[in-house]
Protein backbone atom coordinates (compact mmCIF):
# COMPACT_ATOMS: atom_id res chain seq x y z
CA UNK A 1 0.00 0.00 0.00
CA UNK A 2 1.33 3.41 -0.88
CA UNK A 3 1.75 5.84 1.97
CA UNK A 4 -0.04 8.62 0.05
CA UNK A 5 -3.17 6.48 -0.39
CA UNK A 6 -3.62 6.11 3.38
CA UNK A 7 -6.22 8.27 5.14
CA UNK A 8 -4.75 11.50 6.57
CA UNK A 9 -5.59 10.52 10.17
CA UNK A 10 -3.54 7.33 9.84
CA UNK A 11 -0.69 9.19 8.18
CA UNK A 12 -0.61 11.62 11.11
CA UNK A 13 -0.58 8.71 13.55
CA UNK A 14 2.24 7.02 11.64
CA UNK A 15 4.25 10.25 11.75
CA UNK A 16 3.75 10.32 15.55
CA UNK A 17 4.79 6.67 15.70
CA UNK A 18 7.99 7.53 13.82
CA UNK A 19 8.76 10.43 16.21
CA UNK A 20 8.25 8.20 19.24
CA UNK A 21 10.40 5.53 17.64
CA UNK A 22 13.30 7.98 17.18
CA UNK A 23 12.95 9.17 20.77
CA UNK A 24 12.90 5.63 22.16
CA UNK A 25 15.90 4.66 20.08
CA UNK A 26 17.95 7.64 21.23
CA UNK A 27 16.99 6.89 24.88
CA UNK A 28 18.19 3.34 24.40
CA UNK A 29 21.46 4.59 22.91
CA UNK A 30 21.92 6.98 25.88
CA UNK A 31 21.73 4.06 28.24
CA UNK A 32 23.89 1.78 26.18
CA UNK A 33 26.70 4.20 25.39
CA UNK A 34 26.73 6.56 28.37
CA UNK A 35 25.91 4.21 31.21
CA UNK A 36 27.82 1.21 29.83
CA UNK A 37 25.48 -1.34 31.32
CA UNK A 38 24.51 -2.76 27.93
CA UNK A 39 21.15 -3.00 26.26
CA UNK A 40 17.99 -2.76 28.35
CA UNK A 41 16.07 -5.97 27.67
CA UNK A 42 12.61 -4.64 28.80
CA UNK A 43 12.92 -1.64 26.45
CA UNK A 44 13.85 -3.94 23.57
CA UNK A 45 10.78 -6.04 24.30
CA UNK A 46 8.62 -2.92 24.12
CA UNK A 47 10.14 -2.21 20.69
CA UNK A 48 9.14 -5.71 19.64
CA UNK A 49 5.54 -5.18 20.79
CA UNK A 50 5.37 -1.84 18.95
CA UNK A 51 6.59 -3.47 15.74
CA UNK A 52 4.10 -6.28 16.19
CA UNK A 53 1.15 -3.84 16.44
CA UNK A 54 2.30 -1.97 13.36
CA UNK A 55 2.76 -5.10 11.27
CA UNK A 56 -0.71 -6.36 12.19
CA UNK A 57 -2.42 -3.39 10.49
CA UNK A 58 -0.89 -4.18 7.14
CA UNK A 59 -1.08 -7.95 7.53
CA UNK A 60 -4.86 -7.83 8.04
CA UNK A 61 -5.40 -5.40 5.19
CA UNK A 62 -5.50 -7.55 2.06
CA UNK A 63 -7.97 -5.30 0.33
CA UNK A 64 -6.14 -1.97 0.23
CA UNK A 65 -9.32 0.02 -0.30
CA UNK A 66 -10.93 -1.39 2.82
CA UNK A 67 -8.52 -0.39 5.55
CA UNK A 68 -10.34 -0.40 8.87
CA UNK A 69 -9.43 3.11 9.95
CA UNK A 70 -10.55 2.77 13.56
CA UNK A 71 -8.77 -0.56 14.08
CA UNK A 72 -5.63 0.77 12.38
CA UNK A 73 -5.64 3.93 14.52
CA UNK A 74 -6.04 1.83 17.66
CA UNK A 75 -3.19 -0.44 16.63
CA UNK A 76 -0.87 2.51 15.95
CA UNK A 77 -1.89 4.04 19.29
CA UNK A 78 -0.99 0.78 21.00
CA UNK A 79 2.34 0.82 19.18
CA UNK A 80 3.00 4.42 20.28
CA UNK A 81 2.19 3.42 23.85
CA UNK A 82 4.76 0.64 23.71
CA UNK A 83 7.34 3.01 22.25
CA UNK A 84 6.71 5.48 25.05
CA UNK A 85 7.14 2.66 27.52
CA UNK A 86 10.43 1.73 25.80
CA UNK A 87 11.63 5.33 26.25
CA UNK A 88 10.53 5.20 29.88
CA UNK A 89 12.37 1.92 30.53
CA UNK A 90 15.59 3.09 28.88
CA UNK A 91 15.67 6.40 30.80
CA UNK A 92 14.63 4.64 34.00
CA UNK A 93 17.58 2.24 33.85
CA UNK A 94 19.98 5.13 33.15
CA UNK A 95 18.42 7.15 35.98
CA UNK A 96 18.83 4.25 38.43
CA UNK A 97 22.50 4.05 37.46
CA UNK A 98 23.10 7.73 38.31
CA UNK A 99 21.06 7.53 41.53
CA UNK A 100 23.18 4.62 42.66
CA UNK A 101 26.33 6.57 41.83
CA UNK A 102 25.03 9.41 44.03
CA UNK A 103 24.29 6.90 46.83
CA UNK A 104 27.82 5.51 46.58
CA UNK A 105 29.27 9.04 46.70
CA UNK A 106 27.16 9.87 49.74
CA UNK A 107 28.31 6.72 51.55
CA UNK A 108 31.95 7.36 50.70
CA UNK A 109 32.02 10.94 52.02
CA UNK A 110 29.67 10.36 54.94
CA UNK A 111 32.29 11.48 57.48
CA UNK A 112 33.79 14.31 55.41
CA UNK A 113 32.60 17.91 55.54
CA UNK A 114 31.59 18.12 51.90
CA UNK A 115 29.91 21.54 52.18
CA UNK A 116 33.27 23.35 52.54
CA UNK A 117 34.16 22.29 49.00
CA UNK A 118 30.67 21.81 47.57
CA UNK A 119 28.25 24.29 49.25
CA UNK A 120 25.25 23.11 47.22
CA UNK A 121 25.63 19.51 48.47
CA UNK A 122 22.66 19.47 50.91
CA UNK A 123 20.31 20.97 48.30
CA UNK A 124 21.41 18.41 45.75
CA UNK A 125 20.96 15.60 48.25
CA UNK A 126 17.39 16.81 48.75
CA UNK A 127 16.88 16.92 44.99
CA UNK A 128 18.03 13.30 44.68
CA UNK A 129 15.64 12.23 47.43
CA UNK A 130 12.83 14.17 45.73
CA UNK A 131 13.49 12.19 42.55
CA UNK A 132 13.36 9.00 44.62
CA UNK A 133 10.01 10.05 46.10
CA UNK A 134 8.66 10.66 42.59
CA UNK A 135 9.93 7.24 41.54
CA UNK A 136 8.22 5.64 44.50
CA UNK A 137 4.87 6.96 43.19
CA UNK A 138 5.61 5.91 39.60
CA UNK A 139 6.62 2.36 40.46
CA UNK A 140 3.31 1.78 42.19
CA UNK A 141 1.55 2.36 38.85
CA UNK A 142 2.60 -0.88 37.21
CA UNK A 143 0.24 -0.76 34.22
CA UNK A 144 0.60 2.73 32.74
CA UNK A 145 4.19 3.82 33.37
CA UNK A 146 4.32 5.26 29.84
CA UNK A 147 2.32 8.22 31.24
CA UNK A 148 5.43 9.38 33.09
CA UNK A 149 7.75 9.41 30.10
CA UNK A 150 8.00 13.23 29.91
CA UNK A 151 9.02 13.60 33.55
CA UNK A 152 11.37 10.63 33.29
CA UNK A 153 13.71 12.39 30.88
CA UNK A 154 13.84 15.43 33.18
CA UNK A 155 14.55 13.24 36.22
CA UNK A 156 17.32 11.49 34.32
CA UNK A 157 18.92 14.81 33.28
CA UNK A 158 18.73 16.19 36.84
CA UNK A 159 20.29 13.07 38.37
CA UNK A 160 22.98 12.91 35.68
CA UNK A 161 23.98 16.56 36.16
CA UNK A 162 24.18 16.18 39.93
CA UNK A 163 26.14 12.93 39.75
CA UNK A 164 28.59 14.32 37.21
CA UNK A 165 29.05 17.47 39.30
CA UNK A 166 29.80 15.43 42.42
CA UNK A 167 32.27 13.26 40.52
CA UNK A 168 34.15 16.39 39.39
CA UNK A 169 34.67 17.40 43.05
CA UNK A 170 35.93 13.97 44.09
CA UNK A 171 39.67 14.80 43.83
CA UNK A 172 39.24 18.04 45.80
CA UNK A 173 37.31 16.18 48.52
CA UNK A 174 40.02 13.54 48.69
CA UNK A 175 42.61 16.28 49.23
CA UNK A 176 40.46 17.80 51.97
CA UNK A 177 40.05 14.42 53.62
CA UNK A 178 43.82 13.79 53.51
CA UNK A 179 44.43 17.26 55.00
CA UNK A 180 41.98 16.54 57.83
CA UNK A 181 43.57 13.18 58.48
CA UNK A 182 47.04 14.80 58.63
CA UNK A 183 45.90 17.44 61.10
CA UNK A 184 44.18 14.79 63.26
CA UNK A 185 47.33 12.67 63.31
CA UNK A 186 49.44 15.71 64.19
CA UNK A 187 47.08 16.57 67.05
CA UNK A 188 47.31 13.01 68.42
CA UNK A 189 51.08 13.14 68.09
CA UNK A 190 51.14 16.48 69.94
CA UNK A 191 49.02 15.06 72.78
CA UNK A 192 51.26 11.99 73.03
CA UNK A 193 54.43 14.16 73.17
CA UNK A 194 52.86 16.36 75.87
CA UNK A 195 51.89 13.29 77.90
CA UNK A 196 55.38 11.84 77.52
CA UNK A 197 56.95 15.16 78.62
CA UNK A 198 54.64 15.28 81.64
CA UNK A 199 55.53 11.70 82.53
CA UNK A 200 59.27 12.46 82.29
CA UNK A 201 58.82 15.58 84.45
CA UNK A 202 56.92 13.60 87.09
CA UNK A 203 59.52 10.82 87.20
CA UNK A 204 62.34 13.33 87.62
Amino acid sequence: MLFASLPSSIRAKLAEFEREYRRAESALKVHEIEVLMGLVAPALNEFRYAGSHLSRIFADDEDTNNLDEIAATQAIDEGIRHLRRATYDAYDAALLFYLRKCDAFNREYKHTTVTTILPSFPDEQTQIDTIKNELDKEYRDKERRDKYVESKEQQYLRARDISQKWERYRSELNKERAKNLRSTLLSILGILITLAALLVALIK
Binding site: M37, G38, D103, Q125, K132, L135
Partner: protein, 74 residues
Protein backbone atom coordinates in the same frame (compact mmCIF):
# COMPACT_ATOMS: atom_id res chain seq x y z
CA UNK B 1 47.48 -21.64 36.81
CA UNK B 2 44.07 -20.10 37.53
CA UNK B 3 42.33 -22.74 35.41
CA UNK B 4 44.11 -25.47 37.34
CA UNK B 5 43.06 -23.91 40.62
CA UNK B 6 39.44 -23.66 39.49
CA UNK B 7 39.52 -27.26 38.29
CA UNK B 8 40.94 -28.33 41.66
CA UNK B 9 38.24 -26.42 43.58
CA UNK B 10 35.51 -27.87 41.33
CA UNK B 11 36.87 -31.38 41.89
CA UNK B 12 36.94 -30.86 45.66
CA UNK B 13 33.33 -29.61 45.50
CA UNK B 14 32.28 -32.65 43.48
CA UNK B 15 34.10 -35.00 45.85
CA UNK B 16 32.37 -33.44 48.83
CA UNK B 17 29.05 -33.51 46.94
CA UNK B 18 28.20 -29.95 47.95
CA UNK B 19 25.15 -28.69 46.07
CA UNK B 20 25.29 -25.24 44.47
CA UNK B 21 23.37 -22.53 46.29
CA UNK B 22 20.41 -20.78 44.64
CA UNK B 23 22.48 -17.63 44.04
CA UNK B 24 25.30 -19.64 42.48
CA UNK B 25 22.82 -21.44 40.23
CA UNK B 26 21.25 -18.13 39.17
CA UNK B 27 24.68 -16.67 38.41
CA UNK B 28 25.57 -19.78 36.44
CA UNK B 29 22.38 -19.42 34.36
CA UNK B 30 23.05 -15.73 33.79
CA UNK B 31 26.61 -16.45 32.67
CA UNK B 32 25.34 -19.08 30.23
CA UNK B 33 22.69 -16.65 28.87
CA UNK B 34 25.27 -13.89 28.43
CA UNK B 35 27.67 -16.31 26.76
CA UNK B 36 25.00 -17.43 24.28
CA UNK B 37 23.98 -13.82 23.62
CA UNK B 38 27.61 -12.82 22.98
CA UNK B 39 28.08 -15.82 20.68
CA UNK B 40 24.93 -15.33 18.61
CA UNK B 41 24.55 -11.54 18.44
CA UNK B 42 25.32 -9.57 15.31
CA UNK B 43 25.64 -5.84 14.73
CA UNK B 44 25.40 -4.58 18.32
CA UNK B 45 28.64 -4.14 20.24
CA UNK B 46 26.99 -4.39 23.68
CA UNK B 47 25.29 -7.64 22.84
CA UNK B 48 28.48 -8.99 21.29
CA UNK B 49 30.10 -8.44 24.68
CA UNK B 50 27.15 -10.14 26.38
CA UNK B 51 26.11 -6.86 28.01
CA UNK B 52 22.40 -6.49 28.66
CA UNK B 53 20.19 -5.64 31.63
CA UNK B 54 17.18 -7.83 32.33
CA UNK B 55 13.85 -6.84 33.91
CA UNK B 56 14.79 -8.71 37.12
CA UNK B 57 18.07 -6.83 37.42
CA UNK B 58 16.31 -3.49 36.94
CA UNK B 59 13.70 -4.44 39.56
CA UNK B 60 16.52 -5.30 41.97
CA UNK B 61 18.17 -1.92 41.24
CA UNK B 62 14.84 -0.17 41.94
CA UNK B 63 14.44 -1.83 45.32
CA UNK B 64 18.01 -1.10 46.38
CA UNK B 65 17.93 2.50 45.13
CA UNK B 66 14.67 3.40 46.83
CA UNK B 67 15.74 1.77 50.09
CA UNK B 68 18.60 4.27 50.56
CA UNK B 69 17.89 7.93 51.38
CA UNK B 70 20.48 10.69 51.34
CA UNK B 71 18.59 12.97 53.70
CA UNK B 72 16.63 12.19 56.82
CA UNK B 73 12.90 11.53 56.41
CA UNK B 74 10.69 14.22 57.93
Amino acid sequence: MFDRLMWFLRTIRQMMILPLTKTQLRRQDEDIARGICAYLSRGNVSLQQGLFVTAEEIEQLRHETLAYRLTRKK
